[in-house]
């Protein structure tokens, strides 16, 4: 994947391009859209967020209009302004293995619009699908093969650290001709808020040591995969560490909520580091 800056906006965090209003597009190697699933999802009931200075827990539940509506909007030109500004990665998901296959079929004739297609195998906030798919290894491996045959795109898998070792997943991807892996997704977490249970996916600074290790372990077993490393990146130094651990590009998520301008600073440091 050829990115002018080895920095991508993580899926979901940046919605459908909204942060292009607050971050200079020339700093963004690619902008990953919010995961689109086969069927539309209203998402989880409120409250959906809780933050501290060290982390964010979110329980969005993949709220999205579904692939058909997404494709309609795409064809109507609603997202043209995004493509004019940045390279775009499409993120796809489903409730079960079959839906992953079907959603891939649906996007076949628009795939060349995207610099890559990322399959989200790791959303912790939906009852079925997301994380669930990794529990059925042989069927998962079969699915990886099917998706590879269905699409010509640069194919990336978004992987979390639960349910399956990242390095095993990476090997499977490599064996099935995939091009990249995006590490790590949020980790399932629980926090008591005023005595009540709040569940969701953990993101932000606390993830960094865990995510760095995931990148390192994946890089140890695969040399072909393009590794997008992220999880807790908050500044230039963090981004550099992900590259040192073996990532080809970094992804920034939660930090964009704290300060969109930091993305520009990180991009600048990555550009300088390349010279």
């Amino acid at each position: 994947m050829d990115l002018k800056v080895p920095l991508v906006i993580a899926s979901g965090v940046g919605g459908m391009g909204e942060y292009l209003k607050l971050v200079d597009p020339s700093c963004i190697g690619a902008y990953t859209l919010k995961t689109i699933t086969l069927k539309s999802k209203v998402g989880n009931p409120p409250c959906r967020l809780i933050a501290t200075k060290d982390y964010l827990i979110n329980s969005i539940g993949l709220e999205n209009p579904g692939v058909d509506e997404f494709l309609r909007r795409l064809k109507d030109g609603e997202y043209n302004w995004i493509f004019e500004k940045v390279k775009v990665i499409l993120s796809l998901g489903g409730d079960n293995l079959d839906e992953y296959r079907l959603v891939a079929e649906k996007v076949k004739d628009v795939e060349e619009k995207f610099v890559a297609i990322e399959f989200n195998f790791s959303c912790p906030n939906v009852e079925k699908g997301g994380l669930g798919v990794v529990t059925d290894l042989s069927n998962l491996e079969r699915l990886l093969g099917i998706l590879r045959k269905t699409l010509k795109s640069f194919l990336i898998a978004k992987v979390g650290i639960e349910g399956i070792f990242v390095e095993y997943f990476a090997k499977m991807l490599e064996n099935n001709g995939w091009n990249g892996i995006s590490l790590i997704n949020t980790i399932r977490a629980l926090k008591f808020v005023d005595g009540k249970i709040f569940k969701g996916g953990l993101s932000g600074p606390v993830l960094k040591p865990i995510a760095l290790r995931a990148v390192y372990e994946v890089r140890r077993v695969t040399s072909n995969l393009f590794v997008i490393g992220g999880g807790g990146i908050s500044n230039e130094e963090d981004a550099k560490e992900f590259l040192m651990a073996g990532a080809d590009a970094v992804s920034v998520g939660t930090i964009i909520y704290k300060n969109p301008k930091i993305v520009e600073r990180i991009a600048e440091s990555l550009r300088r580091g390349r010279l």
Partner: protein, 220 residues
């Protein structure tokens, strides 16, 4: 929608734990829009309604936790982005804004633009001159005044969810009621989908569908 750095010009206590902060810079906004403010105590920014006072851009902040404490007492400069949310277009009739102290500056800008009456409410005595607005202090007085209100076609309540909820209960038979809705936010611009609230018309997002909603849409 832009990034701004605001420098504090003056901080005044309005009442209780609530302060009015005026800034040296100006942001163009419509009444009821808000900004997302960075604080060191959270990985996400926090929403505060935009307003004006004495010709300056102003935020009013009630100290609840670490973030609001930082904004009022510690910060010199604030990183914010905005304006977020929709401007509210009031019905072209005779209306009244019922605002908590934390919404003084918001109410003030609306007053200037819409030529509307404003009732300022607070549990504690006002320690600042909020003229030309009428003041109501204390729960009893708040309930009594609201019950006696008449002659307005619409009402806009600005304040905590509890205050707005109670006001709605009293006012809903007297005219159209509009209200601010509260929600935890991460982005303020429609990206994160975190600020969803349940309404009779399904899930809405406070930052892009609000922050002002019709009372009968969000409450029974």
């Amino acid at each position: 929608m832009e990034n701004f750095s605001l420098t504090k010009k003056e901080v005044e206590k309005i009442s209780g734990n609530t302060y009015l902060i005026r800034f040296n810079e100006w942001i163009d906004f419509e009444p009821m829009q808000f900004v997302m403010v960075e604080t060191p105590n959270s990985v996400v920014r926090k929403p505060f309604g935009l307003g004006s006072w004495q010709g300056d851009l102003a935020l009013c902040v009630e100290i609840l936790g670490e973030g609001t404490k930082y904004i009022v007492h510690e910060a010199v400069k604030l990183n914010v982005h905005g304006p977020c949310g929709n401007d509210f277009v009031p019905p072209n009739k005779n209306g009244l804004i019922i605002a908590a102290a934390s919404c003084l500056a918001m109410a003030h800008e609306a007053f200037k633009r819409w030529d509307v009456e404003v009732l300022m409410c607070s549990r504690e005595e006002f320690e600042m001159d909020v003229r030309p607005f009428r003041k109501i202090v204390g729960d009893e007085s708040f309930l009594k005044t609201l019950r006696e209100l008449k002659g307005y076609d619409w009402y806009l309540t600005l304040g905590s969810p509890q205050m707005c909820r109670i006001a709605y209960g009293i006012l809903k038979t007297k005219g159209e009621v509009f209200t601010t809705m509260d929600s935890y936010m991460a982005c303020g611009i429609g990206a994160c989908r975190g600020c969803a609230i349940e309404t009779k018309e399904g899930l809405k997002h406070v930052c892009i569908d609000g922050p002002i909603f019709r009372g009968d849409v969000v409450w029974i």
